[in-house]
Symmetry: C2
Subunit: 444 residues, 2 copies
């Protein structure tokens, strides 16, 4: 082998998509795109890399170690592969200024990049579906984003027994943490610890909570936050009393509950005040979708970020949205047996042409393929040189063709035999009627 061996492998944490892998990826993308479009979202995209400063200006220089950053040879500015879409979205929205329609509903599904050690469910390159609603202040905006996310997941076969939307609110979490004794100046640190709680060692957790000034009881209560799922059918006001939080802290969640109910998705949802989301820009409601058994990372995460667009130099507009990556989602779909045979997800040929007449019919294959393809049909043939019908039909079956078009002795009368695999039928068809027959337009 020429060169050193690693150059001939995909970089660690990235993926090669062979046709069967690609079929799964496109199956997921179709569900994302269809849900987005049906809910009135318009598709956008931005560059794969941005000025590094787009990220450091909001997240600080600490983010650089998590990014793949680079500079063009001879260039003067640093770039970074986008780790998420929201800064690009905020930049694009800000650039439109007053030209941005209100409300705006945008979606995208680009690749993102993290310079981290790859783990199960977390790769260095991944595709992420991003949904954003700009300019809707009320809880109907949040409810809409949750509904779109669920629409795609339901299309993919997940139901309320297999996934849970865990809903929280930054202000409520803040009250709970204050109540445990977290001082105001260490609130961000405490929220960050809460977000990472499940991914750190028990000893580290105790050490860090103690460092926050919490006593043993408070540490136990901190650890227990969100341990008992509360169905979203529970009125948040009732919850406020139980949690010793002022009722007014629950106003937005009470509205959200009503909006989720109107959209028929309340059964998927629960209140979970251990959810804070790691990103600094969230300002209110935050939520995550998890596989019900809790065995994988979050499938999706989102919330409200009402100051971000203004922060990027745009108008003062509220916004909310979410991101859903393809890596965890595919694991969950496989865990639930919802992706079994990738071949079934691949595009089905309308016609698989089979020539069994030797030289008498072989020369007809390419012109017929051309005619069918010119008519917009998906047409294939076998690469085998055999005239054995059984072997050729096996090839047709392998690529899951809808019809085999058999070129044999009938061709001398201008006819072909069409085998319809799903119906288990076959018919002799005049070659000039073949396209109409294959498209079903002869049955109109």
């Amino acid at each position: 082998m020429a060169g050193s061996s690693h150059a001939f492998q995909a970089p660690r944490g990235t993926r090669d998509f062979h046709p069967a892998d690609m079929a799964v990826r496109l199956h997921i993308e179709r569900a994302w795109r269809t849900a987005s479009i049906n809910h009135g979202f318009d598709e956008i995209e931005g560059p794969t890399f941005e000025h590094l400063e787009l990220y450091t200006s909001k997240s600080g220089p600490g983010i650089v170690s998590e990014l793949f950053s680079f500079r063009r040879s001879g260039g003067e500015t640093d770039f970074a592969l986008r780790p998420e879409f929201t800064p690009t979205l905020a930049r694009m929205a800000a650039a439109l200024g007053r030209g941005l329609p209100v409300p705006t509903r945008w979606f995208s599904m680009p690749m993102h990049y993290r310079a981290e050690r790859p783990q199960r469910g977390r790769l260095r390159e991944f595709r992420q579906w991003n949904i954003d609603v700009i300019g809707i202040d009320g809880a109907d905006g949040d409810a809409e984003t949750i509904t779109v996310a669920l629409s795609a997941l339901r299309t993919l076969g997940l139901d309320a027994s297999s996934i849970r939307v865990k809903i929280s609110h930054r202000a409520v979490v803040g009250r709970l943490l204050a109540d445990l004794g977290v001082p105001a100046e260490r609130m961000a640190e405490a929220q960050d610890l809460l977000d990472k709680r499940d991914r750190i060692e028990a000893a580290t957790f105790t050490e860090k909570t103690t460092a926050l000034g919490l006593d043993q009881t408070a540490i136990e209560r901190f650890a227990a936050l969100g341990a008992e799922p509360v169905p979203a059918s529970t009125d948040p006001t009732t919850l406020a009393e139980q949690l010793n939080v002022p009722a007014e802290a629950m106003t937005e969640l009470t509205e959200l509950r009503a909006e989720l109910e109107r959209r028929g998705v309340l059964e998927f949802c629960e209140w979970d005040f251990s959810i804070v989301r790691g990103l600094a820009y969230y300002t209110g409601t935050v939520w995550e979708i998890h596989e019900a058994s809790g065995g994988e990372r979050a499938i999706a995460g989102g919330g409200r970020y009402d100051t971000l667009i203004e922060g990027y130099g745009g108008p003062s507009l509220s916004a909310c949205g979410f991101g859903m990556g393809d890596v965890v989602l595919e694991l969950v779909l496989r865990d639930h047996g919802l992706i079994t045979e990738a071949a079934e997800l691949m595009p089905r040929p309308d016609a698989f042409i089979v020539s069994i007449g030797g030289d008498d019919t072989n020369h007809m294959v390419v012109p017929l393929l051309t005619r069918l393809r010119d008519a917009g049909l998906h047409a294939r043939t076998s690469a085998k040189t055999t005239s054995n019908l059984g072997k050729l039909l096996k090839d047709a079956g392998k690529c899951n063709a809808r019809h085999a078009v058999i070129l044999g002795g009938e061709l001398s009368d201008g006819n072909v035999v069409v085998k319809h695999f799903d119906a288990g039928e076959q018919a002799t068809v005049a070659i000039d009627d073949l396209i109409a027959h294959l498209t079903g337009s002869d049955r109109a």
Copy 2:
């Protein structure tokens, strides 16, 4: 504005795709994907970045200045954003080894990156459609790739009067250059100069051809190569005599001509021995598609590269293919008036819900949107608080909806009024029959 201003713009040579831009991009992608699938190609994809060595091992260290390359902080290997897809394809094919089906037909349409100064038709980030046929030795493989390219371009509205496939062959070009006096050891240099001929100054051209050892007559003949287009209906053997090239150098092109004729695309093609393609890996037939007036860069370029897969450690398999970028193609489509109103390319709502009954009907909007979307329909409504039918219908028209569903006084009898925009008709429909009415399934 926070931060410095450049961070709030897309990096130079990259693009923000707002919804109307994205609609054009998806229009092009649909044509690419449909042509690929209909011709029996399977979709694949690879990582956005590869080990830098994947590129330098075949193209030499000189390529580094044309790439965006980087290293993970603390990492030990260099990566590069992919400038083209062929090395990834060859790597993927090589990795399968004997498991690679023969023939294999693959397509992809990922982003690619060049660290060059952006120019008209040439950006730093662009999408490229890649088609590859592996394991077909004969000219039918080349003809197939040309036919697929033309299929997509014809779907997009281009015809034989607007685009030309310029076909050449490395061996023929080699004979022609040798005939002009280019010594064998400077052949690569001469081919490179021929490839760049149109993009360099006249003085530089004379200087470089003189340096190759050509006399004035030879320089003029070098400059005139390909100046007169020869229709592909001309038999290459006839051409061989005119060009003083041995007839056997034309064998593959003669076969190709027959294969193009069988596929009905000969009228798009011409012989042009100024085409060599810049990339080092081509071994035989090479071709480019150009806008007929020659005003833009090449729309597509491809050819045969029979040693590449083996060069990446795979089995010895012939291969041919092409790349078609989105940037030049979009310019050509616009030049020819084939992209006019982007709004017409955006997904059309099946239903635009209009509430004109005030409080009596407004509360019905969200539940009805939910019902339609749950049924897989694309449903929208207006963000306006007005009950003015005219204004609301104008909103429906703006997003090119197929139907307006009007919630008014009829709702008390369980009915809605459905306005069918294209047909200019309207009907009163029971709300329970609405989905069947909108999908046309009530007419079965």
